[in-house]
């Protein structure tokens, strides 16, 4: 670590990297709290109280806090600073308006257990977002509770299981999942107690229909189809496939992480999908925050709506969600209770509903609560704001331009890089670095080298079925000029593989760190600051 008096040779040394605890000086402080304005109560007994010096948190000044985290922020690539074509992740412009709206006092300072009537504005946001997501997918039952895509998957699988159980088919315990699927699909399936059976992808990148037909038997609970697939392809046989599953008595789950390719072009429900989720932090452009928070609403057919996770929002003069119970003014509401009580919790709100017209409620056959309150509200607000800004036509333009941008990159790079599948793509293109690997430079190094050019790496080595995969998703918010520069840089790197492969294999050279030793990190894990410095 720099001793602090070496001039900066590069960004790498732009500031010292010591942790806050290593800057801590006893007696410093970054904040003052007020004195108590009430008489002091008797303190609890000593054996409950923490020793004053047991709590080792940093003691630094307020400037230290600001300068430290500000400098840290600058060590990071981001949409606001870099082109970030990270496939499957949909790293697109996150409008600043959305953040500003989410920070309004009327949204930021409301408690999740306030009465419905005291949060009508928030409930209207949620209600309309439900409607709009239902419209975008033609799956009218919408539950906003899931906190990310993976939780949306889990909720969707719980719904599938519950629905099949209600049909008396609780023996159906197989999740059919294509080999190209994202890791959360099998992981969610396993959490839902399903056995994962992998379905093959054919040479055109499509689901191997014969393989599927063979495996879709009386144990099939659900088929999890990512659409477009992680190869960036739309499944042309989707209707046939969905029929196969339905004929086998199973349900079709669509992983909607790539819904940004479909807006206004096609609706999942129209294709026979029963259940899907959408990552609002991808398609609906809420910021990724370095890895969350996100939101993964689950959308289902009318028939399945009564199974949605708690809560959903209903309007008291409508009963749009067939399966949900709407309570009206004057009906008694049960208060909350501690754990052992067997009183059902029909709604997280206390008090009678009287003045408001939106209500939180629990669908009749709900799979229950999958998290503490009502979902990632701050993310829901952003997505709703985004959808208003775009409108129906704008959302279609999102998908159109996402497709054009991806195909443009694919067309311009196909002479240098192999394509995972040689056909038009949807919103992303999967390149294979096979030819480059044969010349001694693996996809990893190409990815790292891109960082030196100020471009974030594509998703690497995914989907798993493509050797040396580099999955490129430019998104609609980047301009042709940016794409052209990306193409030029990829060509330059491809040239470097011949002229100076070592330099590519040792990239990055210009970042705060050179390649990090991930093996040692995992072998001898150091997961927190400690006073002896390891």
């Amino acid at each position: 670590m720099s001793d602090g008096v070496v001039p900066n040779a590069s960004v790498a040394d732009m500031h010292d990297r010591r942790l806050l605890m290593d800057r801590s000086v006893s007696g410093r402080r970054a904040i003052e709290m007020p004195a108590a304005d009430v008489p002091l109560a008797e303190m609890p007994s000593d054996d409950l109280l923490r020793d004053a010096d047991d709590l080792q948190l940093p003691e630094v000044s307020q400037l230290d806090v600001i300068r430290y985290f500000t400098l840290l922020s600058r060590l990071n690539f981001s949409i606001d600073t870099n082109f970030y074509p990270l496939g499957s992740c949909t790293m697109k412009y996150n409008p600043k308006l959305n953040d500003q709206v989410a920070s309004l006092g009327g949204f930021a300072n409301i408690h999740p257990l306030q009465t419905d009537e005291s949060v009508q504005g928030a409930l209207e946001v949620m209600f309309e977002l439900q409607q709009w997501l239902g419209e975008a997918t033609a799956l009218p039952g919408v539950g906003l509770a899931p906190l990310a895509g993976a939780q949306g998957e889990y909720a969707g699988l719980l719904i599938a299981r519950a629905a099949l159980e209600m049909r008396g088919e609780s023996h159906r315990k197989v999740a059919l999942i294509p080999d190209s699927a994202h890791g959360t699909n099998p992981a969610s399936a396993a959490m839902a107690g399903l056995d994962v059976v992998t379905v093959k992808t054919d040479e055109f990148g499509n689901v191997d229909v014969e393989d599927l037909r063979a495996k879709a038997d009386e144990n099939a609970c659900v088929f999890m189809l990512t659409i477009p697939s992680t190869l960036g392809l739309f499944e042309p046989n989707i209707i046939e496939i969905n029929n196969i599953i339905h004929d086998a008595g199973g349900l079709v789950y669509a992983d909607g992480a790539n819904l940004n390719a479909l807006l206004g072009l096609v609706k999942l429900g129209d294709l026979g999908v029963d259940i899907c989720h959408s990552n609002l932090h991808k398609t609906f452009s809420t910021p990724h925050g370095g890895g969350g928070p996100g939101a993964g609403p689950v959308m289902v057919t009318e028939e399945l709506a009564s199974f949605l996770p708690e809560p959903i929002v209903v309007k008291s003069d409508t009963t749009r969600h067939s399966g949900s119970t709407t309570r009206h003014s004057g009906e008694s509401r049960n208060p909350e209770g501690p754990g052992q009580s067997d009183i059902p919790t029909p709604s997280p709100s206390q008090g009678e509903i009287k003045r408001g017209s939106y209500h939180l409620t629990r669908p009749d056959n709900s799979i229950g609560k999958i998290n503490g309150f009502h979902g990632s509200f701050s993310i829901l607000v952003r997505a709703y704001t985004y959808m208003q800004s775009l409108g129906g036509d704008g959302l279609r333009a999102v998908s159109e331009n996402a497709l054009i941008n991806a195909n443009y990159i694919q067309a311009r790079l196909r002479d240098r890089f192999d394509l995972a599948v040689d056909r038009l793509c949807m919103h992303e293109t999967v390149l294979s670095g096979k030819r480059q690997a044969d010349r001694g430079v693996p996809a990893l190094s190409i990815a790292k080298r891109l960082l030196d050019y100020g471009i974030h790496a594509p998703t690497m080595y995914f989907p798993l079925i493509v050797p040396e995969a580099l999955m490129v998703e430019p998104t609609e918010t980047e301009s042709k000029e940016t794409l052209d520069r990306f193409v030029a840089v990829m060509q330059a790197i491809d040239d470097e593989i011949d002229s100076d492969p070592d330099s590519v294999n040792h990239a990055p050279h210009t970042l705060p760190n050179t390649r990090l030793d991930e093996a040692t990190a995992a072998r001898r894990p150091v997961l927190r600051w400690s006073s002896n410095g390891d």
């Binding site: 709206v101 306030q114 949060v119 754990g339 206390q350 998290n371 970042l511 760190n513 995992a522 997961l527």
Partner: protein, 459 residues
């Protein structure tokens, strides 16, 4: 003004002529040629959504919607029960505005993500410290999901399949744990404090899981519960309110094996229940069973310190159906808020917040206890900043009348006859919470209002 040649939207740069050029490069005649894989009968079905609105219109509408909500920033509020209105220092908002943090992805390319990684390491360090535990992960979705995953982890670690949850815990914790465990070959069961302390723990118990302060705000006997769990060969799993640890002994000090909490009180606004961050801590020896992301320290090829995601073989993107959890996108940015909060508060600030909450809550409890018709209930013992009161009229009605007086009252709750050792019959009550944000004046207003309501004050 907008012509066909214009870009379709401020968020979509390319103009019609650029698109035409690009389609030519792609080698197709028009856009439709790109979507021939979509079944024709369902292609281009239009979205029946409102038209695009300008930023001014959207901002105006959203401000109007926000104004419909009763905001804890503008009226005294006494709601807690899992989400808490604590002070958030200005540093948190200032750092949260850094686009580099807000608009980056999960740090899969560590060299280009040291900002997120090092601040995540700060989060893990602070959380582990506050909990007195050896390690923390980089955060879970929220408190209840962290608690649910703790139970599942205890089952993996102990290779047993009964997750016993003390019956004084918040029902939300039960519900979420049940939803997580539903198909995982483990049982979720409630157990009473008495049973545990009497050693009445089944020998296939994976863990004794409990909440302290419990749902009604009382501090549990963490040591006794933990010792009892260990005596039965089970793990001790504790869910806590991290602010309380500013003054109360940490789970680590009592030997708890997995301790979880809701991170929201540490610098995160209420935002109607989310996004929050789940805190998850455990012992070093269990790290390979941890769910979620973990950031570790390492060195680069030049020997310089750096940070990276680690132990990724537990995770879904590598281990797939055998992962410790399906969690992928998590709550990094909320974790950053917690990290900045902890750095700003430091040990003294956190203690001060805890003590202010404690003293103010006791001031309110004493005042209410002195009102005829009202009494503090819920099992005796020490409480931190929440307590239940028995009301002379139905608590939902109390809540309504308080709202009419511009006060957000506590949460109507059912208190079972034997809750936490209370010997009275089942009753309805109101769970009240007080923090440093409640001024004495606001507390006095509540007391006066309750007194008035108790005396039959206007509905």
């Amino acid at each position: 003004m907008t012509s066909n040649a214009d870009s379709p939207h401020p968020f979509i740069p390319n103009t019609a002529s650029e698109r035409a050029q690009m389609l030519a490069t792609i080698g197709v005649d028009d856009f439709d040629a790109l979507i021939t894989d979509i079944p024709e009968q369902h292609r281009n079905s239009s979205l029946r959504l409102p038209n695009a609105a300008s930023e001014l219109e959207v901002a105006t509408r959203m401000q109007a919607l926000a104004a419909l909500n009763q905001d804890a920033g503008t009226r005294p509020s006494f709601l807690g029960a899992g989400a808490y209105h604590h002070f958030i220092p200005s540093t948190v908002g200032a750092i949260l505005q850094r686009g580099e943090f807000v608009t980056s992805y999960t740090p899969y390319q560590p060299e280009a993500a040291q900002g997120v990684l090092q601040s995540g390491f700060e989060f893990q360090s602070a959380v582990a410290q506050i909990f007195g535990m050896e390690v923390a992960n980089a955060g879970m979705y929220d408190g209840p999901t962290a608690f649910a995953e703790a139970g599942l982890m205890a089952a993996r670690v102990s290779r047993r399949n009964r997750i016993l949850i003390l019956d004084t815990a918040d029902k939300r914790l039960f519900e979420v744990a049940e939803a997580y465990a539903r198909y995982q070959q483990v049982e979720i069961e409630a157990i009473s404090r008495e049973s545990v302390l009497n050693g009445d723990v089944p020998d296939d118990a994976a863990c004794i899981a409990f909440q302290s302060p419990n749902f009604l705000g009382r501090i549990e006997d963490v040591k006794a519960l933990t010792d009892a769990a260990h005596a039965a060969g089970a793990l001790s799993v504790m869910h806590t309110y991290p602010t309380a640890l500013g003054m109360f002994k940490s789970p680590g000090e009592f030997g708890v094996d997995i301790a979880t909490g809701e991170g929201q009180p540490l610098g995160v606004p209420l935002t109607f229940g989310g996004a929050y961050v789940g805190l998850f801590t455990t012992k070093q020896r269990f790290i390979r069973q941890l769910p979620g992301r973990i950031i570790g320290r390492t060195t680069d090829t030049l020997g310089r310190t750096g940070y990276t995601l680690t132990l990724q073989t537990r995770e879904q993107h590598i281990r797939r159906e055998r992962a410790t959890s399906n969690i992928c996108t998590s709550t990094q940015l909320i974790g950053l808020m917690v990290a900045v909060y902890c750095a700003t508060m430091g040990p003294n600030g956190l203690r001060k917040v805890a003590e202010l909450s404690y003293h103010k809550a006791h001031y309110l409890a004493n005042a209410i206890d002195a009102l005829p018709g009202w009494s503090v209930i819920g099992g005796g013992g020490t409480f931190f900043n929440e307590f239940a009161v028995e009301c002379p009229i139905a608590p939902v009605e109390v809540s309504r009348r308080l709202a009419d007086r511009g006060i957000t009252g506590g949460l109507p709750v059912t208190i079972p006859p034997d809750f936490g050792g209370n010997t009275r019959g089942a009753s309805e009550g109101m769970l009240l919470c007080v923090t440093e944000m409640n001024s004495r004046q606001g507390i006095d207003r509540l007391v006066n209002a309750l007194s008035d309501i108790g005396n039959g004050g206007a509905a």
